[in-house]
Structure formats: C-alpha cells, structure tokens
Amino acid sequence: MFLQQLVNGIALGSTYALIALGYTMVYGIIALINFAHGEIFMVGAFIGLLMVGVFKFNIFLAMACAMIFCMVLGVVIEFIAYRPLRKSSRLSAFISAIGVSIFLSSLALMVFGANAKGFPDQAFSSRQIHIGDADISTLQLLIIGVSAALMIGLEFIVQKTKIGKAMRATSEDYNTAALMGINVNFVISFTFALGSALAAAGGVLVGMLFNAVSFNMGLMAGLKAFAAAVLGGIGSIPGAMLGGLLLGVTEVFGVAIGYSSYRDAIAFAILVLVLLVRPTGLLGRKVLTKV
C-alpha cells in the first residue's frame, strides 16, 4: 500500500516538476511569473494526442513533435507578449501573460471542443507489474523514466554547455551578463524554448496518466506547478524538481488517507505552511536587499 501510493505520488509529482521547471527558469532569468506556461502544457498534450490519434505516430515521436511545436510557441509568445514589456512594471507583463493564457485556452476550446479526450489504447500498451503488494503500471514507470531523463538532460544543458553558462550568468545578473557580451535576448528565447519543451512533455505524460486531455487542464496544473516551483524556492532548478515531487507525493497520500475532496487544497496548504517557516522556499537563496 505504502509503496503503491509512493509510486503514484512520484509519477504525479514528476509531471508537476516538469512544468515547474519552466516556471522557475523563466522566473530566474526575467523575474516573470509566466502564467501562460500552464496553457503551453495543455497545448503540448493536444499536439501529442493529435500526433498519436491522427498521424498514428509512436508515443515517443509524438512527444518529440509536441516538444518542438511548444518550443516554437513559447518563443513566439515571449516575442509578442513579454519582450515589449521587459522594461515596464512586472505586473503589466504578468497581466499580459494572463491574456495569453486566456487566449490559448479559449482557442483550444474552439478548436478541440469542450469534452475531454483520451489517448487511444494502442498509444502505449500498459502492463501491471507486481512488486510486493503493489501494482505498478509500466505507464507510471515510463512517466518517471522520461521525466528523469529530461531533467538530467536539462541539468546537463544548464551546467555543462556554453548556452547553459550564459543562462546562469543572465539569471545571476541580467545587466552584467549583457555587458559581458552575452546575447541576453537569445538566452531568454532559449530559456522559453527549453521550459516550453519540458511542459509539452509533461502535457503528453499527464494526458496518458489520466487518459484525459481538455482545454482547461492547464489552469490547475499550472497553478500547482507554480506552487511547486515556489515551494522549492523559485529560480532554483533542483528546487523545482524537489517541490514537484513533494507536492505530488503529499497530494497522493492526502487522498489515500481520505481527504479526496480536499485534493486541490492539499498542495496549497503545504505551500503556505512551508513558506511560513522558510519564506524563500526549501532551496531558495535569501536575497539581501541593498540600500
């Protein structure tokens, strides 16, 4: 029972973590709460569904298509809705992000309709594996595996490549990075592309996990992923991973011990409690304000 719920929780949590990474990277670089990120996750799920359902692609290929599509989408959104607002107040950019989010979800409502759609059964033939008294589906293992691989890939890009170094520099100090000859506009576009790709992968995985893709799936998932990013300390990449897993696991355990009607409140209750003890999240750095 414990092992079963733990695996369920980790599978859910790793999808939260994938979305949370996009929030935290964008926040780390331009201090923007990118509320359209949840909708990118939703678009990714739909693209994946389309590829599997209409073009009969293999699930991995479909996921790759969704990631590429959302990369472009993320970069375009940044260019249209956020770049002109980079020098103005942060709230303006925030409202602009909400505008994008409303736009994308109503577009999805018009194109795909109001009903939730499921992935066809042949998309991924899931089997049950018995470990002790736990039934673990191969789908859950796939989700955990893909998420882990993507996160390791991200960690590699951020820590070992030149563009990753540029990202870290820009997030450390935007102006100094620009003075050092880093093309910050490119770095920001790249960050949006990377975050959106992870969200798209998360969308396809969540769509398969719950076997439901709908136009409004982005809102709650986006809010919870944002909560995960803040829980871990916004701006911190390992923090987003930790926060996502923690929220997923607590949510699943909360439901398992009988608080299923409080499901959506559990994540936020944890968040509020943690912030009261550690005001900058679990792994967030304390920023000293200079006068």
Binding site: Y27, I33, I80, A81, P84, L85, K87, S88, S89, R90, L91, S92, A93, F94, I95, S96, I98, G99, V100, S101, I102, F103, L104, S105, S106, L107, L109, M110, L219, L223, F226, A227, V230, I234, S261, Y262, R263, D264, A265, A267, F268, A269, L271, V272, L275, L276, P279, T280, G281, T289, V291
Partner: protein, 304 residues
C-alpha cells in the same frame, strides 16, 4: 419613487450597470493593498466569497436589515484578512502573491466541503431586506467606496502605505511600522472585497464556492492594472471597461474570450502603465479650468 425610476431603465442595461458598480467596489478594494501598498494579492476572490457567504447566511438565518448585513459581512471579512495577513504579510513579493493564491484555493475547497455553505450545491440567496432597490444600494456603496478610497489615499495612513510601496527600507527607517500598516491595509482592502461580495450574492441570488476561483481574482487584478495601478479613476475606469467588455463582445459569441485575451495582451503592450497610468486627472481638470497645478506631475511608475 426610486423603484419607479429603477424600473424605467432597461433591465439588461441595468444589470450591466450593477455589474460595473460591483466591479468598481472590488477593484478599489484590491487597489488599496496592491496599488497603494504594493503587495500583490492573487487571492482577493477568497475575500469576496467570505463576504458573499457571510452576507447570504446573515440574510437567510437572521432578520437583520440589509445595510447591517452588508456592514457585518465586510467586518467579518476584514477580521479574516487580518488573521491571515498577520503571518503571511511577512513574505515579500511573489512569495506573498503565491501565498494569497494558495489561501484562496484553500478557502474555495473548504467552502465546497462545509455543511453550512451547502457544499458544492451553493446557496440560493433571498432578496435583501431593504426598502431601497438593489441598483440604488450598489450606487450608494460605490460612491462611499470612492470617497473612502480618496480619503485613505490622502490621509496619513495612505501616505504611509505609499511609502511602503515605494521603498520598504526607507519607510521603516522613517519610523513606519511596516507589519502593522500592511495588515491594516489588507483588512481595509478585504472589507471592501467582502462588501462587494455581499452585494454580488444578493444581486445574483445564487452563489457557488467555485464562482470565486483564481480567475475571479485575476479579473480584479486586470481591472486595476489595466486602469493604471494605484490610481482611483484608473480603477474605476478599468473596472467599468472589463465588467462591461464581456457584454459588448457578446456579438462575437464564441470568439469572445479569445478576443478578451488578445485585448489584454495588446492593451498591456501598448499602454504598459495602464490606460490612465501616469495621468493625473485632478491636474488635467484643473488645467482645463485654467488653474495652475501645484507641484509636478506624477512621475512614471518605477519598475518593481
């Protein structure tokens, strides 16, 4: 006489007007904590729902007159806000924003599970016990709220709040008790949200906890940012436009929300400080009347 006057107006038009009025009250309430004090709240719908349910339950269970109900629901909401604000207002910036958001979600889920709020079925609210028709009450409250906001903004209290918004450290070193002022402005802000919620409940006649979700909080925030943050005419203007926009865009039927989203983006891109941001209405009117304005025009909003 008032009833006759109200009845002579087209009911559909009247409904839009009342929606605008309630929007103005809510926007002005949020303006105090976010516009004046500079603390981003993403959970104001929660205060609206606390006020709405308190007002509805008072009308249902007690025989108190509506004006008393209105005041009591505002007061109760303010008390709730003070209770919550005391621990969470120590957080800064986006950590505070996400905390208010989380709190709003928690309130929504609690109301969805409480017996007294009729769980997910929601409450049917009877007509308010008052001799005045509803639109007149809303108009009166709007005028009172605008008056109170103007008074607060120019009072010692309001100047302290603006000092906190502009520079917390400087304000603190000037002897302003930041924690106390933040909680107070949170409570005042919630009072207005509670009153707005109570009016909303009685105007609609039916409330459901799910109505007061994240999108409602965002509606209010869009109003004040669109109008121009921290400006009372801006909040009134933004609330009027955004409350009426869904009705005016109705002819586009299914494209309505699509256009609304795009509109938000374009308005922000072309007027990043809001439609009336950086415009000093009083000075503008005085100049038109030929009076030289005192002092200089307000500087552009700094990047925060």
């Amino acid at each position: 006489m008032l009833h006759g006057l109200v009845n002579s107006i087209d009911p559909y038009f009247l409904q839009i007007l009342v929606n605008i009025g309630i929007g103005i009250i809510l926007a002005l309430g949020l303006n105090i904590i976010t516009g004046l004090t500079g603390q981003l709240s993403l959970g104001h719908a929660a205060f609206m729902s606390v006020g709405a349910f308190t007002g509805a339950l008072l009308t249902l269970k007690t025989g108190a007159p509506f004006s008393l109900n209105l005041f009591l629901s505002g007061l109760f909401t303010a008390a709730v806000a003070a209770l919550i604000g005391w621990p969470i207002l120590r957080l800064t910036g986006d950590y505070l924003a996400i905390c208010t958001l989380g709190f709003a979600e928690i309130v929504k889920v609690i109301f969805l599970n409480l017996e007294i709020t009729n769980k997910a079925l929601g409450l049917t609210v009877p007509a308010p016990r008052s001799t005045l028709p509803m639109p007149v009450i809303v108009l009166m409250v709007v005028i009172l709220t605008i008056g109170a906001s103007t008074f607060i903004q120019n009072s010692r209290f309001g100047r302290a709040l603006k000092a906190i918004r502009d520079d917390e450290i400087a304000a603190e070193s000037m002897g302003i008790n930041i924690a106390r002022y933040k909680v107070q402005s949170f409570a005042v802000s919630a009072f207005m949200a509670g009153v707005g919620g109570c009016l909303y409940a009685h105007f609609l006649g039916y409330i459901n906890p799910s109505d007061f979700g994240f999108l409602k909080s965002i509606d209010m925030l869009s109003m004040i940012v669109l109008g121009g943050l921290g400006s009372i005419p801006g909040a009134v203007f933004g609330a009027s436009i955004l409350s009426a926009a869904p009705e005016f865009l109705r002819f586009m039927s299914q494209y309505r929300m699509l256009v609304y989203g795009a509109l938000l983006v374009f308005l922000m891109v072309f007027r990043p400080n809001g439609l009336l941001g950086g415009v000093n209405i009083t000075a503008l009117v005085l100049r038109k009347l030929g009076v030289r304005p005192r002092g200089t025009a307000r500087k552009k909003e700094e990047r925060r």
